[in-house]
């Protein structure tokens, strides 16, 4: 295959910054690897995922409300009038019990599956994949987990699609505000019932403050754990965002399942956070705090380090982190500009490929390499579960780890081997052609030889998927 002047750069562009090469991608990238990455990053709509048939957050949550209500009514009917006699079991003519009709999947399951499929399709179709990588980075930075409840199961996908994608490279404040007011985040971090002690609604017994969301905004989403805040700042900030809630089915204000500001739950009065007074009233108070947090120096450092660690190396060059921090501060948190600075800097391209691909990156890259595009998301969701990175389901609000040590455990490497063997069974491609697709002339002599000497095509592909060239980026 003819390839441009910089095959190594092309591999870096697609693996380090993107989602791995599809047939022909290396050639496209090798003319100008940085331009290849930046072109996609700066294209206006490259991170957007058209809604199509996918419901908005309120509509998705309304389906769950309705489903829960119907189930409750059925339960009540069942207790009120117990059946007098069990209906005779249906049998087929040969006397065997008839197959039970498959139960209709719950709305939660249906919506989750549809969101997952749309996401995977977008990732498979991406050119370089830098925009999808950035979206996934933010989804992990602003982690929510679908294991918390049925509400989260339907709202996690829409949060990424509605709050994150349109702002993946916008001003950080816009992204932050959109996420912290999204029902998925409010529900995940328990803010929907947090009530100010002196708010009109706070006088009712059993209602009060919940500081979960406030703490994680400071610790995880903005300043970082060493960002200089105190327990008092956490409690005061929790008061600032009392009333940030989600409209329930019978709510008199707002659209059921949508964000709502409940003024009579909001702790009245001015607050002081990190030494600064916030005299604002109502929802404006919280937005004013978020704006300051989004531009703080601690936030800039925190995000610059996380971005560099994600894209470049577990221990990124400090000078590169410093450069990104400065860029973040100078542009008042313009993510696109920070990313541009990252992609244009030699230090982001220089380190050898030491980072192990995360399970998500690995699974998507495997599919891209052989053009595998299943009609349902199971073939992606299942391996992600096995490899310890189930979709939108991290163990906690800190998201999945982003260092090689966390993914390269003995158990996980054994699992990668088993999955590679299984996945190789799906492909009919010529192994050396796939090697050409993903590594071109950069493949090592040993890898090429191991593939050539394999006893079968299937084994050759499994070796390819396990090769350092494919596992590391």
């Amino acid at each position: 295959m003819a390839i441009g002047p910089d095959p190594k750069g092309a591999v870096r562009a697609l693996n380090r910054f993107g989602l791995g090469a599809r047939p022909g991608d290396l050639m496209l990238a090798s003319q100008d690897p940085r331009g290849f990455v930046l072109d996609e990053l700066m294209k206006t709509d490259s991170a957007l995922l058209p809604a199509g048939d996918l419901p908005t957050t309120p509509l998705a949550l309304q389906q769950v409300y309705l489903d829960n209500q119907q189930k409750k009514m059925e339960r009540e009917r069942a207790t009120a009038a117990p059946p007098t006699e069990a209906a005779p079991a249906a049998v087929t003519p040969d006397g065997k019990p008839a197959a039970q009709p498959k139960p209709e999947p719950s709305p939660e399951q249906k919506i989750f599956q549809a969101e997952a499929l749309a996401r995977f399709k977008k990732q498979l179709a991406a050119g370089c994949g830098i925009s999808e990588r950035l979206v996934a980075f933010w989804s992990n930075h602003f982690a929510v987990s679908v294991s918390k409840s049925g509400h989260l199961r339907v709202a996690a996908g829409p949060m990424e699609r509605e709050a994150i994608r349109p702002r993946a490279r916008a001003k950080f404040y816009d992204l932050l505000r959109a996420v912290e007011t999204h029902p998925a985040m409010i529900l995940f971090l328990d803010n929907q019932r947090s009530v100010g002690p002196n708010a009109p609604a706070g006088r009712f017994a059993g209602r009060g403050l919940n500081e979960n969301l406030a703490r994680e905004i400071l610790e995880l989403h903005t300043l970082g754990v060493d960002g200089g805040y105190t327990q008092t700042d956490v409690t005061e900030f929790a008061k600032v965002i009392t009333g940030w809630s989600v409209a329930e089915p019978e709510s008199e204000i707002g659209q059921p399942g949508g964000f709502v500001f409940k003024a009579n739950w909001h702790e009245p009065g001015p607050r002081v956070i990190l030494g600064k007074a916030y005299p604002q009233q109502g929802k404006d108070q919280g937005e004013a705090v978020l704006l300051d947090l989004s531009r703080g120096t601690a936030t800039a450092k925190h995000l610059a380090f996380k971005l560099a660690r994600h894209f470049v190396a577990d221990n990124p060059p400090p000078a590169l982190v410093e450069l990104l921090t400065r860029r973040f501060i100078d542009t008042e948190g313009d993510i696109g500009e920070v990313m541009r600075a990252l992609v244009l800097d030699d230090r982001a391209w220089a380190p050898e490929a030491t980072k192990l691909r995360s399970p998500l990156e690995l699974v998507v890259a495997s599919a891209r390499a052989i053009g595998f595009s299943p009609p349902e998301p199971g073939p992606f969701l299942h391996p992600l579960n096995l490899l310890g990175q189930p979709l939108w389901q991290p163990n906690g609000p800190n998201g999945f780890p982003d260092v090689t040590a966390a993914w390269a455990s003995p158990e996980a490497m054994k699992m990668r081997l088993d999955l590679s063997a299984q996945f190789a069974g799906r492909a009919h491609d010529e192994p050396l052609a796939v090697l050409e697709t993903v590594a071109g002339p950069t493949a090592s002599h040993e890898t090429r030889q191991a593939i050539e000497r394999a006893e079968s095509k299937k084994q050759a592909l499994a070796i390819l998927f396990m090769s350092p060239e494919f596992q590391r980026r």
Binding site: N395, A412, M413, A421, E455, P468
Partner: protein, 405 residues
């Protein structure tokens, strides 16, 4: 042994202080020498509510403090009696039975050296064994294994991603429930050969993973047993992880130190009482104790299971039926090698003025004292090694003696 009053509780800890000198002597043979000891560490991620897991039902300030979720010594909200002052959450009957058999104990009002309230830094301190977060990428259990000699005592990390406590210089086995046919030996050998030339680090990890799988199959773990039965925040998942670990630990040439991580203890909202979220998770932990007892068979006699968490939760119930991040909490020890049937606590009480920063159970016992006591008595690790290698900068924290029997 049962202490109902805080005065005598204090005596237990003073006893530990007195034995500080004695701890420099070699550990008695009966504990470390002839026995084939096993240590299993269960990390409870998310901050376990110690006042719910082991409610101080005999403390006169407890019922009002914990309303409306307070347990009573008996009745509808009854907890399981331990020593009359402390009780066990009603969903932990196995732990309570073991207590009666003097094979479990709990340490209350315990905390690591970490005094902030971030889960992730808290877990880092809990698992790294360093006095502060972000100091290292290795865990105290791994370094303990390294100090004893990884040839003598192999480590095991359960889960697709090994808990930090088991990561580090000593190579450890890894195992997780799964549901996938194994790749053939020939493919494995070819990939190992490629790694030997191109990527030794990945090769080492893969080799260990393959070894563990072999050991698990040889010792009768069937494919059915390996199939995932739920996440590590579900009772089924916790039981299964424990059953798998027990099988590997029971093997004659198997690992002797294991780390598991159970999730879902971050009960900010609707924590529940005798039933509910926390009850469900505690029943999983209790089920794990049962599986370990069953699966280890005769080796249970020489086993200690210790369940630890990064910090506790607020003493009072918050505005949404749960509790926020706190400080002092509880540590549970179970196993045939535990000198149990007692509660170890320098109980601070839960009067408002006694609460740490006016909101949390005040910590009076350093968790490292408990863990050092176990490691010293089970494996004969010296106070010097414990204070320098395993829990760096902890010379001032004396190992708590007498936990192993």
């Amino acid at each position: 042994m049962s202490q109902k009053l805080s005065a005598s509780r204090r005596a237990v800890l003073l006893g530990a202080g007195v034995s500080f000198g004695a701890a420099f002597l070699p550990a008695p043979l009966s504990a470390a020498g002839s026995r084939d000891m096993r240590l299993i560490v269960i990390i409870l991620r998310g901050a376990l509510d110690g006042l719910a897991a082991a409610p101080p039902v005999g403390d006169p300030d407890y019922p009002t403090l914990r309303a409306p979720l307070a347990f009573t010594p008996s009745g509808e909200h009854g907890a399981l009696t331990l020593d009359g002052f402390f009780a066990a959450h009603p969903s932990m009957p196995v732990f309570a039975r073991l207590y009666g058999e003097k094979r479990s104990l709990l340490v209350h009002a315990v905390a690591t050296s970490y005094r902030e309230r971030s889960h992730f830094d808290g877990q880092d301190v809990l698992e790294s064994g360093y006095p502060g977060p972000g100091r290292t990428e290795s865990g105290w259990l791994n370094r303990a294994v390294a100090a004893i000699g990884a040839q003598k005592l192999r480590g095991l990390g359960v889960g697709t991603t090994a808990p930090l406590v088991m990561r580090g210089p000593a190579p450890a086995l890894g195992w997780a429930p799964q549901g996938l046919p194994s790749a053939g030996d020939d493919l494995a050998a070819r990939v190992l050969d490629l790694y030997a030339h191109r990527d030794p680090a990945l090769g080492e990890a893969l080799r260990i993973g393959l070894d563990t799988e072999k050991m698990a199959s040889r010792d009768g773990m069937t494919d059915e047993m390996k199939k995932g039965r739920g996440g590590m925040d579900s009772p089924g998942g916790m039981r299964q992880a424990a059953a798998g670990a027990a099988r590997l630990l029971a093997a004659a040439d198997g690992p002797r130190a294991a780390a598991l991580a159970f999730e879902g203890w971050d009960t900010h909202q609707n924590e529940g009482g005798a039933q509910g979220q926390l009850a469900n998770r505690l029943s999983g932990l209790d089920g794990a104790f049962e599986e370990l007892e069953k699966g280890l068979g005769p080796a249970w006699r020489d086993t200690i299971v210790v369940a630890v968490t990064e910090f506790g939760r607020t003493a009072r119930i918050n505005g949404t039926g749960g509790a926020d991040h706190g400080t002092g909490t509880v540590t549970l020890l179970a196993g045939g090698a535990v000198a149990g049937g007692r509660v170890v606590a320098d109980w601070p009480g839960v009067k408002p003025e006694k609460l740490y920063q006016g909101r949390d159970l005040a910590p009076t016992t350093d968790l490292r004292a408990v863990l050092k006591g176990v490691l010293a008595d089970q494996f004969g690790l010296s106070p010097k090694v414990l204070a320098e290698k395993v829990f760096p900068d902890s010379a001032a924290v004396a190992p708590l003696a007498g936990l192993v029997g």
